[in-house]
């Protein structure tokens, strides 16, 4: 009897194995991984060159990993096993603390911070030094700043990062955002901060730059009726609830126009077409863009702001418009800082360098 049970069990194992193999061979290839927000590898080209160089084999392995049947379920199973059976404190560098998925950004990479500071110095020396611009700088701490210590995870030495940057940017007035944010300022499943929680940070920045601070009553909080799964949702591959995304609307923002230097066209501050895309966060100023100019026809001053920023800047920029006639957003990860004079007339505008600690610690993309 025991032998029979064992044989049946072995047969089930073989059938399961063979079934997965058959599905691997014959299931149609998928184009995209929605949770990971990336295209999936497709069957590689077969020719003499790719085979002899071994490229076909390498690409085929990627293809088999990406197209494996029930891949997302397997990834979730791995994450659960890793976290709750092997008791690993992070999975692929992502950990969950207080319900928040966060990337373990550790250790501080001083060379990266120095490189970022060098690029900012280049911008200052080339465009700002002799223009009379008032220059400000602020670092956006990633959520590990608020989560890691209490949850027993590793985190970079943030104070060392702030000090290092400050020392190398003596020409800027530095604004400390750490007190204006807390863990609730961030999405559970995403790297970014929540726009509806950013008023304290925006107020701090505006006051720091000598502009009227935005008030809560100036805005209406509008809910986006589509579930938002952030980038860590796909990376952690753990079961997490979708989140709600909000946009803060106002009459002033409705009147604003956003000029996109890449497409040479105007858009709204909130690009609702992006809500049909894979990353809802792109609703804020259309997502990753090299060069934008928000024009504020209701401004009561002629002051202008140039905001050097990363993706965190998209959500807060609408709150910084205030009485600025225009806010120019520059992302020097997507445009070389050497060519900015072709598009921007640097002539005494206020300038804010606003970068997240994540980008500063991995600054090789800054040009």
């Amino acid at each position: 009897m025991d032998k029979k049970i064992r044989n049946i069990g072995a047969a089930v194992l073989v059938v399961l194995w063979a079934g997965l193999a058959v599905l691997s061979w014959f299931a149609p290839a998928r184009e995209m991984s929605v949770p990971e927000r990336r295209p999936l590898a497709q069957f590689p080209a077969v020719n003499q060159d790719t085979i002899l160089s071994g490229r076909f084999m390498t690409d085929f392995e990627k293809f088999t990993l990406d197209q494996f049947p029930a891949r997302d379920a397997f990834r979730t199973a791995k994450s659960l096993f890793h976290t709750y059976v092997l008791m690993q404190k992070d999975n692929n560098g992502i950990y969950i603390a207080d319900g928040y998925a966060a990337k373990q950004e550790y250790p501080l990479n001083p060379e990266s911070v120095d490189y970022a500071a060098a690029r900012f110095n280049y911008v200052y020396e080339k465009y700002l030094k002799d223009t009379g611009s008032k220059v400000y700088a602020a670092v956006i701490p990633d959520k590990g700043y608020y989560l890691a210590q209490d949850s027993g995870h590793l985190a970079m030495d943030y104070q060392a990062m702030f000090a290092r940057l400050e020392n190398q940017m003596p020409w800027a007035a530095h604004i400390d955002l750490t007190g204006a944010l807390n863990k609730d300022s961030y999405y559970f499943t995403d790297t970014h901060w929540r726009q509806e929680k950013l008023l304290p940070a925006a107020q701090l920045l505006c006051r720091g730059m000598g502009m009227p601070a935005p008030k809560a009553e100036d805005f209406t909080k509008t809910e986006i009726n589509r579930p938002f799964y952030g980038v860590y949702y796909g990376q952690a591959a753990l079961p997490m609830e979708p989140e709600t995304l909000y946009i803060l609307e106002s009459e002033r923002l409705k009147n604003c126009r956003v000029y996109d230097f890449e497409t040479e066209s105007y858009n709204a501050v909130y690009d609702l077409q992006k809500l049909a895309g894979k990353d809802l966060y792109e609703v804020y100023l259309s997502g990753p863009k090299s060069l934008l100019r928000m024009e504020n026809p209701d401004a009561k001053t002629d002051r202008e702001l140039i905001l050097f920023r990363d993706s965190f800047g998209s959500a807060i920029a609408p709150l910084l418009v205030s009485e600025y006639k225009s806010v120019t957003l520059v992302d020097i990860r997507y445009i070389s800082s050497a060519v900015l004079e072709r598009y921007i007339d640097f002539s005494g505008q206020d300038v804010l360098f606003l970068y997240s600690s994540l980008v500063l610690n991995n600054a090789n993309t800054i040009k």
């Binding site: 009897m1 072995a10 194992l13 002899l52 084999m57 990993l65 791995k78 008791m87 690993q88």
Partner: protein, 461 residues
């Protein structure tokens, strides 16, 4: 192609096994040869020609040794097979080591060859050598069927990371082997156990070793965590591969020799090498140590024999000085064990601790990029050079990997095997076994699909 890879598990293996059992017996070896060459070509498209040439060389030399009447000509053909195969090994594996050492010694700048190392060349060369030597000695009958011989040399289950299967051990099975559902399921079970050892323990501890190397906050505790993690990593990596190879062999009707027998429980270094990479140790014993005279020679010659064998054992593992020193450390330990009988009289626990210390420190040396890194690692282990005792990073990884360390330590003892043997005879065992195996397959697949850390250490040898 890695055993612990999706292409192997779900593309290559099911097809090879399926077709194998559909074919008549007389075509099975040809299919294994074809599949094995495809398997090898997948990882080494160009070097598959070297493999085919090696098969041809040893097949021809075997025939020549058998056909020659005179002992002298037999020796000539044996010498040809040994010289050519060791020559290839010297060129592909050791040339840059020798040239680099020569340059360092003389200050000259001879150019390096920078050839890629053909995967598994050390394994299949040693297998082939066992064939011609045994045919020469009359210990094995010559193989006249080139397909069968090719299948032996290239047999994919043990082609690239062992165990080193001697021709004489599988000669009969190449001609006539039996297959059964029971052997198939036993093979499958052994394969999955090996896969679990590799994916769930070895790979995870390997990641910790990489984290340690990249860390800028090393501490004494972190150095010891690394040393123990690597010691467990290499055991589960290599013994896991051997389990998979032995399991695949069983599926195809072969009985490969065991390669590991809980080496970390050894009470002497000599015992450790009877339990660790058994097929390599016995190969060096039978084909190098004993032909040199073994221990039935003068004391000076015996010491020389020991030093030569262990220097070669070290070199077999890698073309670098740290491997040579690693081999010589074992030679010295073995000589001391022979010369200091007191060591054998110590309580078991002390003997085990002594062996573990030698093994752990040995693997630190083994895994260093070079001798200077090995020296730095040794210094770190003992807090020399201002290394702090512990840091926040060490504590984090100790907590994160604590369970894996415990699982690794328990898994390196026969405890789980004994438990499984007790349970498997019961009704619960009959039900649990397939559940555990299915769970292993699914969890290992999940890890592989997530694309985590997955190299095999012994591929580089």
């Amino acid at each position: 192609m890695l055993f612990s890879g999706i292409p192997f598990l779900f593309y290559f293996l099911p097809v090879v096994v399926g077709v194998y059992f559909l074919l008549p017996d007389k075509l099975k070896n040809a299919w294994l040869l074809f599949s094995s060459l495809f398997f090898y070509a997948w990882g080494e498209p160009k070097y598959v020609l070297l493999m085919v040439a090696t098969i041809g060389l040893f097949y021809g030399c075997g025939l020549a040794i058998d056909r020659c009447e005179s002992k002298r000509w037999k020796r000539v053909w044996l010498t040809v097979s040994v010289a050519v195969s060791l020559g290839l090994l010297a060129v592909f594996k050791y040339a840059d080591f020798f040239v680099g050492s020569f340059n360092a010694l003389t200050g000259m700048g001879l150019p390096l060859l920078r050839l890629a190392l053909p995967i598994g060349i050390s394994f299949y060369t040693f297998q082939c050598l066992s064939y011609t030597i045994d045919v020469y000695r009359g210990n094995a009958a010559v193989q006249r069927n080139i397909l069968s011989f090719g299948a032996y040399v290239s047999l994919f289950p043990q082609l690239i990371a062992g165990p080193i299967v001697r021709y004489v051990d599988v000669a009969k099975q190449l001609e006539n082997r039996s297959h059964s559902y029971e052997a198939f399921t036993l093979g499958l079970r052994r394969f999955l156990v090996g896969l679990g050892k590799k994916v769930l323990i070895a790979n995870q501890l390997g990641q910790l070793c990489d984290i340690f190397r990249a860390s800028g906050e090393k501490s004494v505790v972190f150095y010891w965590m690394y040393a123990i993690a690597f010691t467990l990593h290499i055991y589960f990596d290599f013994s896991g591969y051997s389990d998979m190879a032995i399991g695949l062999g069983r599926i195809f009707g072969f009985h490969f020799p065991e390669n590991f027998n809980y080496p970390y429980l050894s009470r002497s270094v000599a015992e450790f090498w009877r339990r660790w990479h058994i097929s390599l140790g016995s190969w060096f014993r039978d084909y190098v140590y004993i032909p040199l005279g073994g221990n039935r020679v003068s004391r000076g010659r015996w010491i020389f024999n020991i030093l030569v064998v262990w220097m070669l054992t070290g070199l077999w593992h890698g073309a670098a000085w740290n491997f040579v020193v690693w081999g010589l450390v074992y030679a010295v330990a073995l000589l001391l064990e022979k010369q200091i009988p007191l060591l054998q009289k110590l309580p078991d626990i002390l003997r085990r601790v002594y062996v573990l210390l030698v093994v752990i420190l040995g693997f630190v040396l083994f895994n260093a990029a070079d001798l200077s890194q090995a020296a730095a690692d040794m210094a770190g282990l003992f807090g020399i050079g201002g290394v702090p005792l512990i840091t926040g990073e060490s504590v984090y990884y100790l907590r994160s990997y604590g369970l894996l360390f415990a699982a690794g330590i328990v898994g390196a003892t026969p405890l789980i095997k004994h438990l499984a043997q007790k349970v498997e005879k019961t009704r619960i065992g009959a039900v649990l076994e397939p559940i555990v195996l299915i769970g292993l397959l699914l969890v290992c697949t999940a890890y592989l699909v997530d694309g985590s850390f997955n190299p095999f250490l012994y591929f580089r040898f």
